[in-house]
């Protein structure tokens, strides 16, 4: 079996990378991808925890299933929005749209 702590550290590293990407990527698609990384890090942790803590109940795995489905919905809507933004602005960079600038 895989070592638990290393696996968790791996998940947190993935999480940190995702955060970094979400904060720095200019292209919205890039941001989406970073968010997917974050999701995956969470999923990974869930799976590891459920293996370690409560293998019988499988709650973590169920949770991961839900996360994946929601992620699918999220990405679908997100990309639809992105497309419509692109149509309006001809741009999908995160700092191009700043209507709420104070």
């Amino acid at each position: 079996m895989i070592p638990v702590k290393e696996a968790l550290i791996l998940a947190s590293l993935l999480f940190a990378i995702g955060i970094y990407g979400a904060l720095t990527r200019k292209n919205m698609v890039g941001i989406f991808m970073s968010i997917e990384l974050i999701f995956n890090s969470a999923c990974l942790s869930f799976v590891i925890f459920t293996r370690y803590l409560d293998p019988a109940k499988l709650s973590g795995e169920i949770f991961v299933l839900f996360i994946i489905s929601i992620a699918a919905a999220e990405i679908a809507i997100g990309l639809a929005l992105l497309l419509s933004i692109y149509r309006t602005y001809k741009d999908v960079s995160g700092d191009a749209i700043s209507l709420m600038k104070g």
Binding site: A22, G94, I97, S98, G102
Partner: protein, 612 residues
């Protein structure tokens, strides 16, 4: 006995209400209601007086006005004794005569009903003041007479002078009342009662330190000085002459201005415990007498002459009270009420007939208005203190009292005042009645009977009250009845000589117009200017009010707008300004916000781990 007191009090109140609410349509009816009411009061006060004569001493009736769970006694009641009975008689009789007189004087005035309503209100308040059995009740009515005085002075409110004079009268007396109020507060805090008799007992028991008594007495005297127009709060009284003349006679000569004297007399148990307070009263009274008498010398307006004369006479009364002449001072109050009301009413008769107040526009009226002239003469003689008028008895009693008290400076000043009095009264008499006719095309005529009958009645009192001296002395006294001192003739003779010489001087100047005297006039022009301008006291007060009070007030308004409110607006501005800076954080870029969120989370983490 209390029935009569209640009746005397309620009649005018009822009349006030009836006139205000019901008889608004009819002048005659209003006057009738008012006069009937005051007649009722007069009748009951006569009955009351008779009863008090038969059983002298203090009779008290009291009810609780407000009840508190602490030891304080806020009550309402009557205290009947010779002092209040006599005062009540004076008030109701003068009120009655003035109300009758006003029927003629105020005839055709558009605000006739209002006038009578306010006269009734005044009578009510004044009677309440006289009958009060405690300081608080007295203060209440005290303020209400002030109000009626305000309303009546401002009767012709559309005249700016009248409006200003009314306001001035109210505010100046209110300054004095402030002292009165503080005195009441001190008494209530220290003793828990306002009741005269209880306080008398408590003070006798030494509940207050002597310093405290002096303080209370002086504060209370401030109230009395305001009401009785004592220096330096005398300035309102001459201006109050803007009111109708009968009002001046009633309120500003006979009754309300005497309320100050009455207060001192009522609270004599308090005043007599403090030598300092007594001395202050005597000095201020004497100074006021002298000072106002001198101003009266140079006035041209007949009502102003009489007004300053009133101030001066009130000063006499205060002086008498201050040197221990309780009986003498109060007796002078009564005689003064009769002859000063008389003088004012005759002046009213003159004004009514000629339409002017200026004595130099009158002249030679003796033949045209005989009754007025004779009654004026009687009043003038009484005021000057000529034997055998009532003024002689009361004034000499005061002078003797001052002389025997040993305050020779005060005596000298009051003697000088006697001279002043004789001089200005003779001057007025000679100029108005005996000099050459100056009224030109106007046709002076004797006033109607409704006006001259009260004059005659009053002049009878002015002449005859002196006969009652001994009876009065036996009735009204403080401590014990004034002993029958063997008549020291020195004081009466000196004062009569002074009066006679002054009158002679006035005759020489104003009637005979001796050349060597008129030539002297320019030499005294500086003095006359000062006197004409009433020693510039009004100017000084105007300066105080305009320059000091209004400057303070404008400064506070400025502070309020710019400092206090400025702080508020400044805070608002600061919030706005910092928002202007802080809004730059609001970049509108989602990733910036995300950075903020995660940065925040991280910072919190670090902070918490550090705290741990």
């Amino acid at each position: 006995m209390f029935k009569f007191a209640g009746l005397a009090l309620l009649c005018p109140l009822l009349s006030f209400l009836v006139i205000s609410f019901f008889t608004r349509k009819s002048d005659r009816l209003s006057a009738f209601v008012s006069i009937a009411a005051i007649l009722g009061s007069l009748a009951s006060s006569v009955m009351l007086f008779a009863l008090v004569l038969s059983q002298p001493g203090n009779h008290e009736l009291t009810t609780v006005w407000m009840k508190f769970p602490v030891n304080i006694n806020i009550e309402f009641g009557f205290l009947l004794n010779p002092l209040s009975a006599v005062m009540l008689l004076v008030v109701t009789s003068v009120s009655f005569l003035v109300q009758v007189y006003s029927m003629g004087y105020m005839k055709g005035d558009p605000a006739f009903r209002k006038y009578y309503a306010f006269l009734s209100l005044f009578s009510f308040s004044m009677i309440g003041l006289v009958l009060a059995n405690n300081f608080l009740e007295m203060y209440i009515f005290w303020e209400m007479v002030g109000l009626s005085s305000y309303l009546l002075i401002g009767h012709w409110y559309h005249k700016p002078e009248a409006a200003v004079a009314a306001k001035k009268a109210f505010v100046v007396t209110r300054f004095g009342d402030f002292g009165f109020l503080v005195a009441i507060l001190i008494l209530s805090a220290k003793t828990g009662t306002f009741n005269f008799l209880q306080l008398e007992g408590m003070l006798g028991g030494g509940i207050l330190t002597s310093g405290m008594i002096t303080l209370v007495a002086l504060l209370m005297f401030a109230g009395a000085a305001g009401k009785s127009a004592q220096f330096p709060l005398h300035v309102w009284l001459p201006d109050a002459m803007e009111g109708p003349t009968p009002v001046s006679a009633l309120i500003h000569a006979a009754t309300m201005v005497a309320a100050g004297i009455y207060l001192v007399a009522r609270a004599y148990f308090l005043f007599s415990m403090s030598e300092t307070a007594m001395l202050v009263i005597a000095v201020i009274g004497c100074f006021t007498a002298f000072f106002a008498g001198s101003i009266a010398l140079a006035q041209d307006d007949i009502k102003k002459i009489l007004a300053y004369s009133t101030v001066s006479q009130l000063g006499y009364m205060m002086l008498a009270l201050g040197v221990g002449g309780y009986t003498a001072g109060f007796f002078h109050l009564i005689t003064h009420a009769s002859f000063k009301a008389l003088l004012f009413l005759t002046a009213g008769s003159l004004i009514h007939s000629l339409g002017t107040n200026n004595i130099w526009e009158m002249g030679g009226l003796f033949r045209k208005m005989r009754i007025t002239a004779v009654t004026f003469l009687i009043g003038g003689l009484a005021l000057a203190g000529v034997f055998p008028t009532s003024g002689y008895f009361s004034k000499d009693a005061i002078l003797i009292q001052v002389f025997t008290s040993g305050h020779y400076i005060l005596f000298a000043m009051s003697l000088a005042t006697v001279g002043f009095t004789a001089f200005y009264m003779s001057r007025a008499f000679f100029v108005v009645f005996l000099s050459t006719e100056k009224f030109g095309k106007k046709h002076p005529h004797e006033s109607p009977a409704v006006m001259w009958v009260p004059l005659v009645i009053l002049s009878i009192f002015a002449l005859g009250l002196g006969a009652w001296t001994n009876g009065f002395n036996a009735l009204i006294f403080f401590g014990g009845p004034a002993h029958e001192t063997e008549h020291d003739l020195f004081v009466p003779i000196v004062s009569s000589c002074v009066a006679f010489l002054s009158a002679l001087l006035a005759w020489a100047i104003y009637q005979k117009r001796f050349a060597f005297l008129t030539a002297l006039a320019p030499r005294f022009s500086a003095i006359t200017t000062v006197l004409r301008n009433k020693y510039y006291i009004d100017e000084f007060y105007a300066f105080c009010v305009n320059r000091v009070l209004y400057v303070i007030s404008n400064a506070s308004a400025w502070v309020d707008r710019n400092v206090v409110d400025g702080a508020v607006n400044g805070t608002a501005y600061l919030v706005g300004a910092s928002a202007n800076v802080l809004r730059k954080i609001q970049t509108g870029r989602v990733q910036n916000y995300a950075l903020g969120i995660f940065g925040g989370v991280v910072t919190l983490w670090l902070l918490f781990s550090m705290v741990k």
